[in-house]
């Protein structure tokens, strides 16, 4: 059995930042493995540890820089990795959901996995739609926002819990092959061990171009254009207590006593 896990390198923004040229200036960004994908990788690795003959392959759309993130997923136990990138993708800039799903569909066609795991969303763009779009493109069944997964490989069914709003979970049987978008909290992602990090260096990481995944530059055209980015105007009018910690704590304590929520 083969599990494909999509792994995205996401940009995280520092507390203080500036916007220039329609995006957050590069010096305020740090790159990391997308939090939700970390859970998806862990889920796949746990399946590979529990079952015989399971290969875990990661798929990433990203520049060379993202190999650091990919190696992290390999260090946590994925077997090999695919990174899709070339000059045409580079010059396109941000890709929309449809394009990302199209590129990943090309990888799926090549790899023919039995199960695809993605994060529910990426921490930077937060579209929350790539996994389900991919499922529809490749003709797989799917389930979004999965926070429990019990795979019945023989029966060809994934028994999942979908995390709905308000502390309610939906129990669903999903026929294989399927794309499952994985919610944070489904497991406890491991830290990469030193041994894992060493081994990751020698695991295969295959770079593929648009052509390799059966697409051309025309496929990158998007009907969506980001026209502006700005910091939302603060709606807040909080009274901010000033002074050192003792002074501010004193003011908060006085406030709590006045409110009557704390005695003493």
């Amino acid at each position: 059995m083969k599990i494909l896990v999509t792994v995205k390198e996401v940009a995280e923004v520092e507390d203080e930042f500036e916007i220039s040229g329609g995006d957050i200036a590069e010096q305020y960004l740090e790159y990391d493995l997308n939090e939700w994908d970390d859970y998806a990788v862990e889920e796949a690795v746990q399946i590979s540890e529990a079952e015989d003959d399971v290969e875990v392959v990661t798929a990433t759309i990203g520049p060379e820089r993202s190999e650091e993130t990919i190696r992290m997923a390999l260090a946590k136990g994925a077997d090999r990795a695919i990174r899709v990138w070339d000059d045409d993708i580079e010059s396109t800039g941000k890709l929309d959901v449809d394009t990302k799903a199209e590129l990943l569909a090309g990888v799926v066609e090549e790899e023919d996995p039995d199960l695809v795991l993605t994060g529910v969303q990426a921490g930077d763009e937060s579209n929350g739609a790539t996994g389900v779009t991919l499922a529809e493109k490749i003709g797989f069944e799917w389930a979004a926002v999965v926070n429990q997964l019990d795979l019945d490989i023989e029966g060809g069914v994934a028994n999942v819990h979908r995390e709905l709003e308000g502390g309610v979970e939906e129990l669903t049987e999903v026929e294989s092959p399927a794309v499952l978008t994985i919610q944070s909290g489904i497991n406890e992602p491991r830290y990469a061990s030193l041994r894992g990090i060493r081994q990751a260096q020698s695991k295969p990481l295959d770079v593929q171009t648009l052509d390799d995944v059966g697409l051309s530059a025309d496929d990158l055209e998007s009907p969506l254009a980001q026209t502006d980015m700005y910091e939302p105007e603060s709606e807040g009018d909080a009274t901010v207590w000033s002074g050192d910690a003792e002074e501010t704590a004193g003011q908060l304590a006085e406030f709590l006593r006045d409110k009557g929520v704390v005695e003493g």
């Binding site: 940009a11 926002v145 709003e165 009907p223």
Partner: protein, 323 residues
């Protein structure tokens, strides 16, 4: 083809609030395109739901009677067929957990550009969608350079529609191919209630990512003890297994309405805010002056929680643990 088709949502026999927010967002958009607002009501007691969403500004309601609960394979087929029938310009769905489960598939099936989690919509010369990125630190505007589009809208962002409507309610005879239904909902489960009901508490001390490590938890517990507060948290704390699920405030956790809510090291992501914005007084303790929590806070301390919390414990005569 200037019309708007909006999909309503229900669960376990009850219409969800977001359905009435869809009416407001959909009416507003249809006013800008100069078209009609159509609603889709799919599965369950459709006539009852249709009655409830028949508010002022709705022009037509289409019901699809098939099954009881949400199933994305039914929704996807029903919406695609209804879209062909109504021929709207824009399709709206909620950016709820279920909306995320069918909207991308419908957009793909209908070859529509999809923009998710909209917080504002404008249609003067084509559609412009406003949405957040980077955890709410920035907003972006997205222009849709095609005539048609699908958009999911953020729950609780638009007010619920009021006033009785007089839209015609029509049954739509969708042709659901059962062989395409490859998911089966077998039941629902409530997250364990546990020993404490945070939604009943008057005074909540709530912690988030800013606590950094589980080893720092005793510091907050000491504050809770000294002030006789109830302890709650944002999602990451529960995801990490540092607190049980019944302590989680937010969209997927509990909605709380205490007299005082102290958010310690909580940035205030939208999913968290959904659970605590009804608090009477919100106090933030956070080092990041740009954190979205400041949009809601009535009072705050812009300082390190590891400085402020020990001082606060001492104010109330508690013992500060070594962390």
């Amino acid at each position: 083809m200037t019309d708007v088709l909006a999909v309503t949502e229900h669960r376990r026999g009850e219409l969800r609030d977001v359905s009435l927010e869809m009416v407001t967002a959909g009416r507003d958009l249809a006013d800008q395109t100069g078209g009609d607002l159509h609603l889709a009501v799919i599965s369950g007691d459709v006539d009852d739901y249709a009655e409830q969403v028949n508010r002022e500004g709705v022009d037509a309601i289409h019901t699809v009677e098939y099954g009881e609960e949400f199933n994305h394979d039914v929704y996807t087929q029903a919406i695609e067929q209804l879209y062909a029938e109504v021929d709207p310009q824009y399709l709206l769905a909620p950016n709820s957990v279920n909306g995320m489960d069918y909207a991308p598939a419908v957009a793909e099936g209908l070859s529509l550009p999809l923009v998710t989690d909209a917080v504002d919509l404008a249609a003067d010369d084509g559609l412009t969608v406003t949405r957040e990125q980077y955890g709410g630190k920035v907003e972006t505007t997205i222009d849709v350079e095609e005539d048609h589009a699908a958009v999911t809208i953020r729950p609780a962002e638009w007010p619920q529609a009021e006033g009785d409507g007089d839209a015609a309610i029509e049954a739509f005879d969708a042709d659901i191919d059962e062989s395409q239904i490859q998911s089966t909902v077998t039941g629902f489960e409530e997250v364990a209630g546990g020993d404490v009901d945070i939604s009943e508490a008057d005074f909540l001390v709530s912690i988030g990512r800013g606590i950094d490590e589980e080893e720092n938890l005793p510091l907050i517990e000491a504050l809770v003890e000294a002030t006789d507060a109830t302890l709650s948290s944002s999602r990451p704390i529960v995801d990490n297994g540092w607190l049980p699920a019944n302590r989680q405030v937010g969209q997927s956790g509990k909605v709380v309405t205490p007299d005082v809510y102290i958010a310690i090291g909580i940035s205030g992501a939208v999913q968290h805010v959904a659970g605590m914005k009804g608090a009477d007084t919100i106090v933030a303790i956070n080092t990041d002056p740009n954190a979205p929590i400041w949009d809601l806070a009535d009072y705050g301390i812009e300082d390190d929680l590891f400085e402020v919390v020990p001082a606060l414990i001492e104010e109330f005569g508690g013992d500060v643990p070594d962390v």
